[in-house]
Symmetry: C2
Subunit: 266 residues, 2 copies
DNA sequence: CCAAAAGTGTTTCCTTTACACCCATGC
DNA sequence: GCATGGGTGTAAAGGAAACACTTTTGG
């Protein structure tokens, strides 16, 4: 549909809506799940924190609009993220100016370069989702609801897909991947069992055998301990889709503290 | 937001969209999952099959609009269904007349009285989803995509919630509930194991102990065999939410044909 | 009587869990 | 050496699947 097209409908029957997209961009930082927020530079809610977003253009696809907002706010280039529709929020009165229907998206990025306000954002910052879940951050519009829904959806999807890999660089160690799950559910997983599960899931494949060679390039800098092999998502894996991950179910039964080795006289 | 409100935005910056809802209404009929379709009485796609739907009113909530369409098309009264948002479909050009963003919903009804065309529907009919999955029915707009997504979502939700009960009357036998799963996945489940799973899930509770009394009222008419107890969803069960159903996972491993009883000399 | 549906009992098998333990590195 | 993270082995516990069997009805 080209710009300049004329509409042949009667506005009385077909009321005009403004359509926006809002994007919840997640990343792992400081071993915690964080979401990108911007400080609003315009009314309403001037000065409040909100999700990045904006109006959909008349000839623009919805996901395209979300990707555009995401790129504007982070400076990242297309394809370096996973972007998916979350749901649509359109209660009358959610925006005091006009009737707005907002299509919410959520995204996973391995890292989010926080850009100083692009567009109408006064500032941008990564915020731990735990802050929001505890109600310690006041968000504009119904964005708290959107963030809560997005977090739930993210956790849900990580349980049965290989999407966790999108929180990591293209090649990663199994330990890095484990730390994603540990951050998202704020829990601890058994490294040995996790190792096996990743290997046997078929969703990942080993790229670089562990070597003593200096891990150059984009590989994670060795810190300590035995060098790890680097893995990536298998060619055939559809990130987005089930069934991928028979990993340890992170949120289900919380792991008990390690038990002492039983004494001989037991 | 009251009718007659004036908008303070510039249509150049905030282009006007038409917003519609489309509803995929599912029910079980003839032991098969079926979806309600209407035959379009207007252009475009005059005469084609489509999902029930229509324009959202300017002061109407999205779910309210979906419920209104559902009630108009089925004659059912509010509350007798489960209605949930599916996703939003808004590619430019999906409607040749104008730029439309459609918020799709899906619903479960225990039974769907097929009403002759309400509104702009020439006719209405239940159609087995298998017909659509096999591409044997041509649908208007992008409604085939919506139906496929809705079916997938329905199957997914039945796996981990107690929503299957919404395909049954308020009180139902465990056998009725099993037949829902069997219809939705077109499979056979072990009656004994299913029985136990329902009882132990905690999501349901027994209402009426099996009796020889004539099953009057809305109770299902006894057909054959031993009378069954009637069950309903437990007070505390949140239908919509996990975790409810550790039932047999219907689509996963397909059940093998029953094996013969091993002979003694085996 | 037989067929069919409801409901219970039981065995077998497979997966998950909770570790123990060895390996390779930095300090 | 010692702490730390990578990676493998394994025994025990728990749960799912298969199916025999009993109960109660209609025809």
């Amino acid at each position: 549909m080209a710009p300049g097209v004329t509409y042949d409908y009667d506005p009385h029957d077909y009321p005009p809506f403004a359509v926006t997209v809002d994007v919840a961009v997640f990343t792992i930082r400081d071993d915690a799940l964080q979401v990108l927020l911007i400080e609003r530079g315009n009314e309403p809610y001037l000065g409040a924190w909100a999700l990045p977003g904006g109006f959909v253009k008349i000839d623009e696809d919805l996901e395209q609009a979300a990707a555009r907002e995401l790129a504007e706010e982070t400076g990242l280039r297309a394809g370096s993220w996973h972007l998916e529709q979350l749901g649509t929020y359109g209660a009358p009165g959610r925006d005091p100016r006009m009737r707005v229907v907002s299509v919410a998206y959520w995204a996973i990025c391995a890292e989010v370069p926080v850009v100083r306000g692009g567009g109408d954002a006064a500032a941008a910052a990564l915020t731990p989702v735990e802050e929001i879940e505890r109600g310690r951050v006041r968000l504009a519009f119904d964005h708290e609801r959107i963030v809560r829904d997005a977090v739930e959806r993210t956790r849900s999807k990580l349980e049965y897909t290989a999407l966790a890999a999108k929180f990591c660089p293209p090649e990663f160690t199994i330990g890095q991947l484990r730390r994603v799950y540990e951050a998202v559910w704020n829990t601890r997983l058994d490294p040995g069992n996790f190792q096996r599960n990743v290997q046997e899931s078929g969703a990942f494949e080993k790229r670089i055998e562990a070597t003593s060679a200096p891990p150059a390039g984009s590989a994670p800098p060795a810190r300590r301990g035995r060098p790890a092999s680097l893995w990536s998502v298998s060619e055939s894996t559809v990130l987005d889709d089930r069934p991928a991950m028979p990993l340890e179910r992170p949120p289900a039964k919380r792991r008990r503290a390690a038990r002492r080795k039983p004494t001989k006289d037991e």
